[in-house]
Point group: D2
Chain length 342, copies 4
């Protein structure tokens, strides 16, 4: 940490900060410049963070130097984390395709979607049984009945599934049914739930919060990993900005940044990221070209009949066309799509 | 709802939309302009919202006309909601002052803070027993022991308390100890917890999410109120923007907007809203002048020793000076601070 | 400046940075921590800023320590800057009221507005002759004819005027007519024009850009002041955020922050800041309570006939009622409104 | 336009709005719903926009239905606009590469950069002679001497050039030297300058403003095109958000959205969009995969010696490696890079 003192600071004030740091076992490195005096605190930044030095009127700012995340950082583990889901290896050379409807509506709907996306080349089936909705009057998902449908469709198609958990309470139940547990954007900082997920040994797909910085996103992953569960997949899904033409602003720069900062796999959800089926193919291609380890795409047999987010769902046909593009892009990136063995 | 059709739409396509609307029991009002054809859907907008019409390639946009919130709206209840907490009436002419430390650290610390803010004129004591922290390595609060301290200090000082609940699990326990239950910004869309809170008959202080629109904030309140608990206090606490000089951007315009849209009381938290004790007095004064029904301010006996957010805490002395200002501003606003009877 | 080196940096790499700094005449202060090596560069930060050290792959970040602005800072000049406009003293104890229509439409309209706002207590008349409009098809202002109308109305009412200049070209002409030259939000970083304004000896009202940080805003002021014109008035007018209920998000925290960082006067424009007449009174009051040196408010005799921004204009009657509130708030703040001598 | 009336509106109030519309020659379409009365105004939306109806207290909102841009829209011209610059055709199947240093520093530097990027496959040379800098104390460019250097290097290498114009004043001079005139992000709404550029017959590269919506960006283009100059190239270069890890947030969704809304070519500047050379290759690839018509990349022979923005400049070697990737991606997209004939 660097403590920047106010202009005109006295030597007593410098000493007060110095002593506080030393009392907490930190080394001190003083640098008196022409205009500014700065104090370097050497040792554990966590300790300095909690000292509240900025409450002192002669302290101007406290600047962190090291990153607050540890276990998820590339510095801690230089090589990529790899997880196996069904017969997919996530985080390696293969780019994974997750696809399916926003919400599980019925077994027929889900099965039709699953068979369609599987035939087109998806490896993992997505579908929500619990739906976080901004209105209490909107369709909230089929809940446990939805989980049972997901399980039956997995059995019929052989596709592993990813589905969202909305609270700590249902973590255990959702974990019994699903292969990957999804944490939605609104729950990225539901710390109680993150702690619960840290106790599992199942992959967690952690969506970036709507206004989460990349650092906060990694800290949310750190909650899970520090609890003991090292299988975290990061999913960029758009942030909130002033632009209203798209539902969110898909921040694809997060892909290369995250690939450098962390060893965890990074995928992209262009469906929520843009909010309209029109922009999904272009942004899926861009995700692969930016280096994503996978994409998660909403596909619905009849988008205009969907109970939820039909506007951003691709038809099965459009999805199949997109997979062909992604396949060729993957090759240019020195990677490949996993081929389904039917 | 207004359905705006693509330029060049055919009469078959118009008919398709019309029929879909009619099948769902909605009235249809067609308006063919020189450039654009628009279809007005007359009836329950909730139905249209879930029809996914934007998935149709010849539909350009679907524009809502009515507000999605009902029970919390001024249209539904024109007169202000009033709640009693201890001997305070919130939402009426009196402006309520909530003050205390960010986190409960010990009985001594909380008692000293409570006695200080009470003497200065605060009516309600704040203090966190459960602390949502972006790092798993930061102090997370004393949890139930903190709640017990809060209860003892309430007994000693007679001040009602407000404290945060972080998950559905602990709602019941927190409700037993506290007078007002606070929902933090990161939990504003923790819908499972909101539903749980809707079953209580205790006031809920609902903080605005960091990137929540005013509409989403009201919808979160609607979750609680539609569950049966009508005692919701809205608390503006700053939104996330590009500006980094302040921790958040306190959106004071939310005060007059909310006072017009809803009958619920609206208070402001300038401590989290700005992130530094330096800006708290000015923004507290501005909150009262903007029409807030109260302010919630972090006060710590020794801010530079605080385990959490010392940088944004006022000392007891600074808080006392501020209360004098607020008292005089309240009078200009045709209101008053509640006088403590000691 | 603090140069944070990559983890794992070699001594050769440290030496390379050190040598580069020394070659540019800077002192070097090396601090080797457990995890991070940091290099303090002692001397002129401007030099370090332009060295492009972040282009070196072993440099992680370059952190500025001092503020980039000089002449406008409180450190450079601790006492408030005071400017005289007509018989108003701006930046002192008196709070200044600027009011008038968004655009000059005709002599009748402007005169009616001027007489109305003068009678209500405004000291300075605002009105645009050049209007920056996002559409080329919108009303663009009366241009020089508008300036002439402003001059005639000043003569008739004795009110000094403030009007906007849109480009370097017309600076001279606008300066001939007006008492205060306004730089609009979209031109805050029109650096060529700022340089031109730096050559004048007339007060400049510098609006904050829609997405300008407070630091960038001060740097824009520094452009003018470093050119020789020390009479700059800062005007907060709302920033762009995700919230759409208000046209912009009025960032009132900027008032106390600016009053601390700079000696220049700070006023607020709640009309553009909120975009609707409904929120202008509350936010005007909040501006005064936050410590603003003045407010600038759009007032139109018939807002619903206005050629521009009628939705955010107060009627003369509403403005007069507001002035009474502001007068009483000013007293609480230990200040006062200037009384018009009619 | 749709005029949404306040709940509880009277028939006199509806009539007042209706009459105002009819007086301006607009057709009226009334729709009385259960909760809301809405009035459709049929005719020119520009007229309604300027009527200030929102100033009436019984009008809740005025919603536009048609897009405010005309000449730049795909509806007006369905086929792509194509411009010739040197022997490049912009907007067609070929993807154009613009590269070079941020600022022209000397003839040696520019020539070295030009030869390097030309050999690597770039068609157009970029380099700034006028530099908009947030600090008045930073290097501001070589100005006319820089233009002369650009001209000499063009002669030696045969590469057409693109350089920025910063104000109306110098438009004519810059136009004499350059092949494409660049409008920087901070000048996107410098309307006086846009009008001046509308009179030329030279391609304009119009960067998106830091906080410009896509609609405002198109309206800025409309200023130029409506003036008579139809050769506008749109350039996405990142918007300002809360994320600080990257300098800006590159909004790649703007590429497919713009390709649908307008016939103008769309390119991307990932150098300014991300602010660090580390992320430029990934985001350049993503730009091509998203459907961009070109990319503009900062390349400097010695980035760590650059007078400006070295941190975001690629070396010539890194640029050459990137071009190979882009070449292969272009093929997947059914397009190609233009091959230099040396």
């Amino acid at each position: 940490m660097i403590i920047v003192m106010q202009t005109g600071v006295t030597s007593e004030q410098i000493e007060e900060v110095t002593e506080r740091l030393q009392r907490r076992g930190l080394g001190v490195h003083l640098s008196v410049g022409e205009f500014k005096t700065i104090i370097g605190a050497i040792g554990d930044e966590k300790v300095v963070r909690e000292m509240g030095l900025e409450a002192l009127p002669f302290v101007e700012r406290v600047l962190p130097i090291t990153q607050p995340f540890k276990l998820v950082s590339r510095e801690f583990q230089p090589e990529n984390s790899l997880f196996t889901v069904g017969d997919c290896l996530i985080g390696g050379d293969e780019i994974v395709l997750m696809a399916g409807p926003c919400a599980v509506e019925s077994e027929e709907q889900l099965l039709e979607a699953a068979e369609g996306v599987k035939a087109a080349g998806a490896q993992i089936l997505r579908g929500g049984a619990y739906k976080p909705r901004s209105s209490p009057y909107s369709f909230q998902g089929l809940e446990e009945a939805g989980l049972q449908i997901l399980a039956r469709v997995r059995e019929k198609t052989g596709m592993p599934i990813v589905t969202e958990v909305m609270d700590q309470h249902t973590v255990e139940m959702v974990a019994e049914y699903t292969d990957i547990i999804q944490v939605g954007a609104r729950n990225m900082q539901n710390f109680c739930m993150l702690r619960e997920l840290g106790k599992l040994s199942k992959p967690i797909l952690l969506k970036r919060g709507l206004c989460a910085t990349m650092e906060e996103w990694l800290m949310a992953a750190e909650y899970i990993v520090s609890g003991g569960n090292r299988q975290v997949i990061l999913c960029e899904r758009g942030i909130r900005t002033f632009e209203t033409y798209t539902r969110n602003t898909l921040d694809l720069s997060a892909v290369p940044v995250m690939k450098r900062l962390t060893h965890l796999p990074v995928i992209v959800d262009p469906s929520h990221g843009t909010g309209s089926w029109r922009w999904v193919p272009a942004m899926s291609r861009a995700s692969v070209a930016a280096g994503a380890d996978g994409v998660m795409i909403e596909v619905h047999p009849q988008p205009e009949q969907a109970l939820c987010d039909g506007a951003q769902s691709l038809t099965v046909e459009k999805f199949a066309a997109l997979v062909c593009d992604l396949d060729r892009l993957a090759v240019v990136m020195g990677r490949r799509l996993k081929k389904q063995v039917s």
